[in-house]
Symmetry: none
Subunit: 227 residues, 4 copies
Amino acid sequence: MAPTTRQPAEHPDPPSAGAPPVPLAPLVRGKGRPRSAAADQAILDATREALAELGWGGLTMGDVAQRAGVAKTTLYRRWPSKSELVVDAIASLFDQLECADLGSLRADIEAVVARFAELLTLPETQAALLALFAEGSRDPQLRRRIRERIVQPQKVLVELGRANAQARGEMDPDRDPAAAAEEVGIIFDTIAGTVEHRLLVSGEPVTADWIRRFTTLLLGPFPGPER
Amino acid sequence: MAPTTRQPAEHPDPPSAGAPPVPLAPLVRGKGRPRSAAADQAILDATREALAELGWGGLTMGDVAQRAGVAKTTLYRRWPSKSELVVDAIASLFDQLECADLGSLRADIEAVVARFAELLTLPETQAALLALFAEGSRDPQLRRRIRERIVQPQKVLVELGRANAQARGEMDPDRDPAAAAEEVGIIFDTIAGTVEHRLLVSGEPVTADWIRRFTTLLLGPFPGPER
Amino acid sequence: MAPTTRQPAEHPDPPSAGAPPVPLAPLVRGKGRPRSAAADQAILDATREALAELGWGGLTMGDVAQRAGVAKTTLYRRWPSKSELVVDAIASLFDQLECADLGSLRADIEAVVARFAELLTLPETQAALLALFAEGSRDPQLRRRIRERIVQPQKVLVELGRANAQARGEMDPDRDPAAAAEEVGIIFDTIAGTVEHRLLVSGEPVTADWIRRFTTLLLGPFPGPER
Amino acid sequence: MAPTTRQPAEHPDPPSAGAPPVPLAPLVRGKGRPRSAAADQAILDATREALAELGWGGLTMGDVAQRAGVAKTTLYRRWPSKSELVVDAIASLFDQLECADLGSLRADIEAVVARFAELLTLPETQAALLALFAEGSRDPQLRRRIRERIVQPQKVLVELGRANAQARGEMDPDRDPAAAAEEVGIIFDTIAGTVEHRLLVSGEPVTADWIRRFTTLLLGPFPGPER
DNA sequence: ACCTAAACGAGACGGTACGTCGAGTCTTCAA
DNA sequence: TTGAAGACTCGACGTACCGTCTCGTTTAGGT
């Protein structure tokens, strides 16, 4: 979802449940000068750049505006605060996550973990992710936005992988949807939390070997064929 | 380790590898007026209080000083920055972690998870932990301090639990120490990361039931007797 | 010269020799939001008020800002330091000095002395003048500013009075302009220095009788008709 | 008067009218360790040195203490504040003023003016004098101290010069003591004020030529023999 | 040769102001 | 109406000095 989608209102998204990824139409064709779409992209790029360079604490709206060649006003016209801006800037990285069906549950999981670890190695992600989570723990609105734009896309992968495994017959199909959701929750928290903790807290690298061991742990009940 | 231990230097801890938790002796009885130990305690208490009330972002050195009935200068004389102060304030909570031998690996793990989840439910911890980790990802000195004071005490529990299990015969004794350390690392990152992610990112509660399911996942290779 | 004259640069006045008292035109109509003229006035008024109340030592930038209903930043945007601000605040009082031609040299001098003494009786002047001079003795930039805004306006009176006396035939017209300037210098230092010293150092009042005696001293060479 | 005179009480001088220049006696021979006289001198020297180097505004008690190789406590045990300390430090310079009888009123005046101008050329005096006067305008106690230690010694010269002139027959002896005192006041304010103003405000040098012209102005009523 | 009380150095302490910085808003002109 | 520019309010920052305090350590009397 591109941020440019938000055209008419000042700070939209309030009800925005799914947030349609396409501008679909000039909707409420504004009367005056239209917003520059280029500016949006420049701002998000500048944000990521500044984030990588200066970290969350060193990031300032003024600096982002300057890098993007844009006035602070323009920035605030589109995002209500630093945090929300960064959410969008980081979210675009997580949009790229995909779950290719690689033929086995283990392979799928390893691919997802590797991809996630790769994202967390980017300086901009490293600088921003935990800070955003921290901010979110006090601001429910921000929390929702983070969940929509960053957490959910990751969780979907787990659901998808599970569905694939079931389609392949590696797992029994779900009976109780609620129980299934809960199980997905556990798996998801475990994958995301563990990788984050290893990289950002313990500060140790995520190697192929580590991924294999960790996946083995995850597959406990469904070890599948040794590889 | 109490912060009061730091006696002589300005912002000590320089080599401080293990940092003995006891003053043991007047060591290098400084020449001037000695630092007030009461102030240290008041400051740490005030920090936790303010943290719970205002969150990490709302925490100000000035406010902490005022709550502690202390001048800002006194605060800066002991801690070089907000982050370091909060590390010490939070660390004291993690000092209390213990690992009672409850007779089985499962019980020990569940107890540790529950205790850790309990800590993460405190408003002060919630407000601070992720923010600290985020700050730490840019500042190596802070990172080290966090590891010493907060992460390590948790990790020790895992090692202890493992040793207990081995003593009870539930696990094979270690052969390769390096491999053992790595395995402890995985387990530790998984426990800590997952609980943090569930509570602070997903924002869902850690119930007894969830703990049981999660422990089952962890015990994959060593399920032990069903209970 | 009103401080509002300073429009474009940050801390202007760089070459500013005469500094025209009128904005004359939008000159270099700046691009952003223009500086508030009302703020300038409010700040100068607040400065004089605080000066009278608290004295030079008790004057704080923060306090002035608060009295003026203005942020500290705004204050520093216009004046680089307390001293410069006070120069401008006090200067406006000296702008009011005039030299009406009263018909005789003696009368003119007595009027000037009286007017000057009157200014030095105001609490704000008393608090500020010597302090400014003291500061100026270390800071050449400030010194120049003081001379332009406070000393020069006074000196002009002496020159004017002299010209009037010459026009009336009480004094010979100048032959050597350099010698004349020097003589004006002596007279000026004597008037200003003596009145200041009596009021601010000796702490004794300047009465009509004192003025008469002092003027007699000054008129030594040109006593004119006894009155 | 040496500051060492003040031995017994904490911050003496309260009634001290004339302040006897000699320690006269161990007065209230204290029981403990006596104050170090060397420290007094070191402090005053350090004060003058720092004053010359840093100016009034840059002078800090801590710095003076360090230069004097003395603890801040020692400093405050003797002088209640920065201002009082500086008064004493500067006063010792003015103690050296003398009025040698040079044989004529004009010569005496010129000598006094020259000597005074010389004092005002020292960087320490320049830095301190006006600042002290400024401080004094708010603090009556300080004002009194300044008058006793700095102003009075200068005034005495004028009185002495007048007495000498009368002894030589250049002036009529006083009839009305009150009128005489007033006249001394005018002359004194004129000399001190003018020289200060020229050097510290106008910032122009006091040359032999200037002194001659100024003296001529002063001698208006008693020009004496041309020289 | 003690004994004792003050002076001394060091430096921590509670305050207060400093001057700067960033967030987010508002006001102007030009496009 | 958007956008660039930049002034605005607010509030925290970390530092510097102030003048006071509390330590342990001299150091000169008086005994």
